[in-house]
């Protein structure tokens, strides 16, 4: 194996030799540089491979023919090898990207690049304190040079601030080193570490502290990092990439080395500083709309997280700490480099101009991957790292830190997702160009691939075994690769895959899981049908849909928290991309993502607490969690987490927009199917944990009120909408309120109602969204007052809407009634009549919006421009027809639905279960014979219809303006169709329900955070001297706080 010292030799020799090629054509020095970097990459790569595969062992590298401490030594271990590979690869890629700059900068840039990389290699490998200092200086000088690559005013200003800040930092560090040398008599870190004792720590405190604070300040802690932000912003993006990926990783590792050296003396301080940086930078980034500065904020925040993770691992003795810290660092480095390179390709600084990225749609993929990786979404290493960290913290009582980490992550999601949404949705100027070259594009895709691969690898590194089927994600990957195929073929593939996998999956699902398995699998197949009617490639749709369905399937298949949570996040991610595809969905997709992530983090906390309490991450541990301390809090966390997905009151504001703006066949997916994931999770929690309370407050009781208020207000809001799809979206919230109510009843009948509502809601909401979607598609609007009279143009669609609204409102002959009837009985059983009455009132308000829906669209006056509207396309009608068949089946034979579901629930509780006599269901209170009702209805209907037809066969069929209009005639359909502000009197009486409490609340939260960000970021005055002063203050304060005085 090649001696690692050659990494330094090659870089330096090449750098020195480049001076000879000053006059040569620029390609020659450039080629030399690339070659040197490539060789370095190969060397570090071979070491990384060798050590990780076990064929090599970590080695000391001695210099000058002596052994330490006499001479300086380096060390090549697994961590070093991996970091070196990362640094050298990033440098190689950056060199590729910088191809264009070579001409302007002569050989200087290449020299600096090589010196820079050499410095990073040295920082990573060296074991000598002073040597580390030298290498850090090399890095800082070389990077200060690279920052000024274009030598404009901004770069010069930023570079100068960087230099003076670096000088101050290194000054403190140097004093620290020499003090430490005085107390320990050695500069070798291993020697110092071996001597480290409390006594030594006390006498050498000042030195160790100065080293620590110097290293920390190299990592740009909040709030003394204005110079760092300037650097990220001003530099050429490729250089920023190298700084973000290379410098930070290397410096972080150096920080770790010094921290080990001092025996973890400052771990607590590191935790505080790291946490402060993570939160502070993420808050401050909220106000940022310059992409590179934003990335700077994000980079620093990520390093803060890594520092925090390291400190927590050390403080709480969390297992698998190395994996946690390095997964975070690696993910950050790869993703951040990718994003900076991407920023270079895009060439726009304002995040509002990033729409131009859509000129090459394929660039969205790496962008999405990088953002997801930074946010710690699966399947990226950071996900597993965060999981391990949170679980470890919970197990050892670090709840405060969990909250800090997760809220920071959520804040990070705000700005990253907003940025991504902007890029994906904003329009762009056709004249703008992308820097689309081999050299710029290769690195981006390379890092994307590495991130994906690392995700797979890191799953096995996590200390938690995981019940997740990677085949599912494999299928997604296949679809991603095959995205160039026509949409129809991809659709067939996806449906085939779901059909093939789904069969076994549904058969294998047990208990109440099977209900949801049916919904997910059948729902997937049915909602994919409309895809056949869409022409073109539909880039991105099928991978996203596949991702979502993979998540849903994984949810059912999960056997432990990790598998469950991973599936949950995958599902969220997939659905986010699906929702984002909608026309004006930008803000809604963002709030969807934020609420989902927030909910997911609550779930994570809940799972972590369960793990802490029971020591197991199997889903079955929830049963045990029912009796541990804090079980109420666990229940509350999980419930709120799942309720964000179900869009319960207060957590619902994402849903109307997200579902309304989504594409025609996406709305049914996210509304009819996806919402059931929340029901599933909550039902699982409720069944496993039973009734829980926090203090004297019974949680199911609280849930029940939340549920019925959700139902009431959502239904009222639905009635007040002008937009048909928004109406349906609010309706979904209301229906999920019923489901939540059913679950909160914590009884056989309650759960039965929740399951039944889930099933029938799936059926009719998918149908309704498809029907209304096809109307919107045909008429080109979603505003109901612009429609009207479409019954003659779209009769089938009308019919399916009619059946669905009857089912949804629970009017008896159709299947919807069963859910209502069960709820009544369950309410009586539990004696929660007040909630029951509110739910019932909500049910009646449902008539309001349902009538509005069908009237304003299909009845009333047909508009001029809709006179030639055609019936919905076949592939939108087909799924509706299938589902209507299902509705009718369940309506004729309600027992076919209720009996098996009831039997499933009898496994958990039999109290109050329905008794069946033939077709009659008998509860403790009442009885209901759905079959009889159906037949009576049919008979009466037929008889009366016959009477009318026999008597009225001479009726003249007339047209829309043949109405009695006070002896006048209508002028225009638009002025005759009563639809706008349909329920004005209701609004007059109950308008207070419309007051946007929730929206205002969340807006205020958002405004507050943004205001805080806007105010606090003023500390970054741009004045280098102020930054220096801040650093001095930081040092002083840190010293006071760590030592508790002077």
């Amino acid at each position: 194996m090649v001696d690692p010292i050659y990494l330094i030799v090659i870089a330096l020799a090449t750098a020195f030799a480049l001076g000879l090629f000053r006059k040569a054509p620029s390609l020659l020095p450039y080629g030399l540089t690339l070659a040197a970097l490539a060789v370095m990459t190969v060397i570090s790569g071979s070491w990384a491979y060798g050590i990780l595969s076990g064929s090599l062992e970590g080695t000391d590298i001695f210099t000058a023919g002596f052994t330490p401490p006499v001479s300086i030594n380096l060390y090549m271990g697994s961590l070093e090898a991996v970091l070196l590979l990362l640094v050298n690869l990033t440098a190689l890629m950056t060199a590729l990207v910088l191809r264009k700059e070579v001409k302007d900068t002569s050989v200087y840039m290449l020299m600096l690049l090589l010196v820079f990389v050499m410095g990073l290699n040295g920082v990573i490998m060296t074991r000598d304190l002073f040597n580390l200092f030298v290498f850090i200086e090399i890095v800082s000088i070389a990077s200060a040079g690279l920052i000024a690559l274009r030598s404009n005013l901004e770069q010069l200003g930023a570079g100068f601030k960087f230099v003076i800040a670096g000088a101050l930092t290194s000054g403190f560090m140097l004093i620290g080193i020499i003090f430490t040398y005085y107390t320990t008599g050695s500069l070798n870190m291993d020697v110092i570490a071996s001597q480290m004792s409390p006594a030594l720590a006390a006498t050498g405190y000042t030195g160790l502290f100065l080293i620590f604070i110097g290293m920390i300040m190299e990592l740009k802690p909040f709030p003394v990092n204005g110079w760092g932000l300037d650097t990220y912003e001003a530099s050429v993006p490729a250089v920023s990439a190298l700084v973000a990926a290379g410098t930070t990783s290397a410096m972080f590792y150096a920080f770790l080395k010094t921290s080990y050296m001092s025996g973890g003396l400052f771990v607590q301080a590191a935790a505080v500083i790291g946490g402060m940086t993570f939160i502070g930078m993420n808050v401050l980034a909220l106000q940022q709309d310059k992409s590179r500065r934003l990335l700077g904020y994000s980079s620093i925040a990520q390093i803060g997280l890594a520092v925090l993770a390291y400190a927590l691992v050390a403080l709480y003795r969390i297992e698998n700490g190395e994996f946690i810290v390095f997964a975070l660092i690696l993910t950050h480095a790869l993703a951040k480099a990718l994003l900076f390179w991407l920023a270079g390709i895009v060439g726009k600084d304002s995040i509002h101009d990033w729409g131009v990225i859509k000129k090459k749609m394929i660039l969205i993929a790496p962008f999405a991957v990088a953002v997801s990786a930074l946010l710690g979404l699966p399947p990226f290493p950071s996900f597993f790292a965060k999981w391990d960290l949170v679980m470890g913290l919970a197990a050892r009582g670090g709840m405060v830190w969990i909250i800090l980490i997760l809220s920071g992550s959520l804040l990070e999601a705000v700005y990253l997702m907003r940025w991504f949404g902007n890029a994906f949705k904003d329009s762009f100027n056709e004249e703008d160009t992308l820097d689309w070259r081999f050299g710029t594009v290769l690195p981006v895709f390379f890092n994307m691939t590495v991130l994906l691969a690392l995700g797979y690898l890191s799953a096995s590194q996590s200390s938690f075994s995981m019940g997740f089927n990677w085949i599912l994600l494999g299928a997604v990957a296949v679809l991603m690769v095959l995205d160039f195929l026509p949409g129809i073929i991809k659709n067939l593939l996806l449906m085939g895959a779901i059909g093939y996998y789904g069969y076994g999956f549904v058969m294998a699902a047990e208990s109440y899981r099977s209900v949801f398995a049916w919904i997910f699998a059948l729902g997937a197949l049915i909602t994919l049908l409309p895809g056949f009617g869409v022409k073109g490639k539909r880039m991105g749709f099928y991978p996203s849909a596949a991702l979502m369905f993979a998540g849903l399937i994984g949810l059912i298949e999960a056997v432990d928290f990790m598998g469950f949570f991973l599936s949950w996040e995958i599902m969220t991610l997939g659905s986010y991309f699906l929702i984002l595809r909608g026309k004006d969905s930008k803000p809604h997709a963002l709030s969807y993502m934020l609420f989902s992530l927030g909910g997911a983090y609550l779930l994570m906390t809940g799972f972590a607490m369960t793990y802490a309490g029971t020591g197991s991450i199997a889903l079955g541990a929830l049963v045990k969690a029912a009796i541990i301390p804090h079980s109420g809090i666990i229940f509350a966390l999980l419930a709120v987490g799942f309720m964000t997905k179900m869009a319960s009151a207060g957590l619902h504001i994402w849903l109307p927009g997200a579902h309304a703006e989504a594409e025609t066949d996406v709305s049914p997916m996210v509304s009819g199917i996806l919402l059931k994931a929340g029901v599933f999770g909550l039902l699982m929690t409720a069944i496993s944990m039973g009734e829980q309370s926090i203090g004297p407050v019974s949680l199911p009781y609280v849930l029940s009120w939340v549920a019925v208020i959700t139902a009431l207000v959502a239904n009222y809001m639905a009635a007040m909408q002008e937009d048909a799809k928004r109406l349906l979206a609010y309706s979904s919230i209301g229906q999920m309120g019923y489901a939540l109510f059913g679950i909160s009843l914590m009884s056989h009948l309650g759960w039965l109602s929740a399951l039944v509502i889930s099933i029938v809601h799936f059926i009719y909401k998918v149908t309704l969204f498809l029907a209304i979607g096809s109307v919107a598609k045909r008429t080109g609007t979603r505003n109901m007052y612009q429609m009207g009279g479409l019954i003659t143009k779209m009769p089938f669609t009308f019919f399916s809407v009619l059946i669905c609204i009857i089912a949804l409102s629970g009017i008896p002959p159709l299947a919807g009634f069963s859910g209502k009837w069960i709820v009544y009985n369950a309410v009586l059983e539990k004696r929660w009549m007040l909630q029951g009455a509110v739910a019932g009132a909500a049910g009646i308000i449902a008539f309001l919006y349902l009538f509005r829906l069908i009237f304003a669209i299909f009845l009333g006056q047909l508009k001029d421009n809709h006179r030639k509207v055609k019936e919905a396309p076949f592939f939108l009608i087909l799924p509706q027809a299938l589902l209507l068949g299902l509705v009718m089946f369940f309506s004729f034979l309600p027992g076919s639905l209720l009996r098996p579901v009831g039997e499933i629930l009898e496994e958990f509780t039999t109290a109050g279960a329905l008794e069946w006599q033939g077709n009659m269901a008998i509860s403790d209170y009442g009885y209901w014979n759905g079959v009889a009702v159906m037949w009576v209805f049919m008979a009466l209907f037929a008889v009366f219809f016959l009477i009318l037809t026999i008597n009225g066969r001479r009726a003249q069929w007339i047209k829309q303006f043949n109405i009695v209009f006070a002896a006048e005639r209508p002028a225009r359909p638009e002025t005759t169709h009563f639809s706008y502000n349909f329920f004005a009197p209701v609004r007059k009486a109950l308008g207070f329900l419309e007051y946007p409490f929730t929206t205002n609340f969340w807006n205020r939260v958002s405004d507050f955070l943004h205001a805080v960000a806007g105010f606090c970021r003023r500390i970054y005055t741009g004045n280098g001297q102020t930054y220096l002063l801040q650093m001095v203050i930081f040092v002083v304060l840190s010293y006071m706080l760590t030592k508790g005085g002077f």
């Binding site: 020195f16 001076g19 000879l20 590298i61 210099t63 000058a64 600096l112 010196v115 030298v134 001095v1032």
Partner: protein, 233 residues
Amino acid sequence: MVKKVFILLMIILTGLILWSFVPGYESRTALPEVSAHYVEKGPEELGAANIVTAVVVTYRGLDTLGEVTILFAASAVVGLLIHLNKNENKRRREGSEILRTGTALLFPLILLFGIYVFINGHLTPGGGFQGGAIIASAVVLQVLAYPNRKIGHGLLSVIESLSGFTYVLLGAAGVFLTVNGFLDNRILPLGEYGSLLSAGLIPVIYTLVGLKVGSELSSVVISLNGESEEEQL
């Protein structure tokens, strides 16, 4: 004013931090283990009379390599910035007669002294850096005397590159020739203790360092004065 008082307060507090070291400090009476090794075994092991040089060039040779690199990087940055901002040069006032005459007189002497200092680095106080700095001071004198004379970088950069490259190669040669011998000076015979051609590679390396530092500092000075690609020194 308030700000200055505050700054003063902060500086005092910083002083307190540093002061916390002072009570525990007293001059050593004996050397730490490693230093003792250098002082006692150094002459035998490396054959250099100047222990500091032995430490700088061999024991802590990697630091020195880094140090050279820092100078190199600094000069590259200076070169880069000057290169990027080529602008028409203002004429500067010529040096006085005395200065010019003195320069003409002193320039070769200073160069010679510089060379002496780095060649004897392993025997007497001094060495590559010091020598290089002396050489550069000659160039400074030159620039002061003839500020409008444009001096090219060509030769300087060749010297700089070649000496640096050689230095690295010599260091790497140690890896080939001995075990773990990066920058080991003993790949050449140690020679007679105390003579010019002793201490193995140390004089060679110091020569290279001297050349390199001299040319680097010179080129920095020249760059700051305003670069010209045409004229050669």
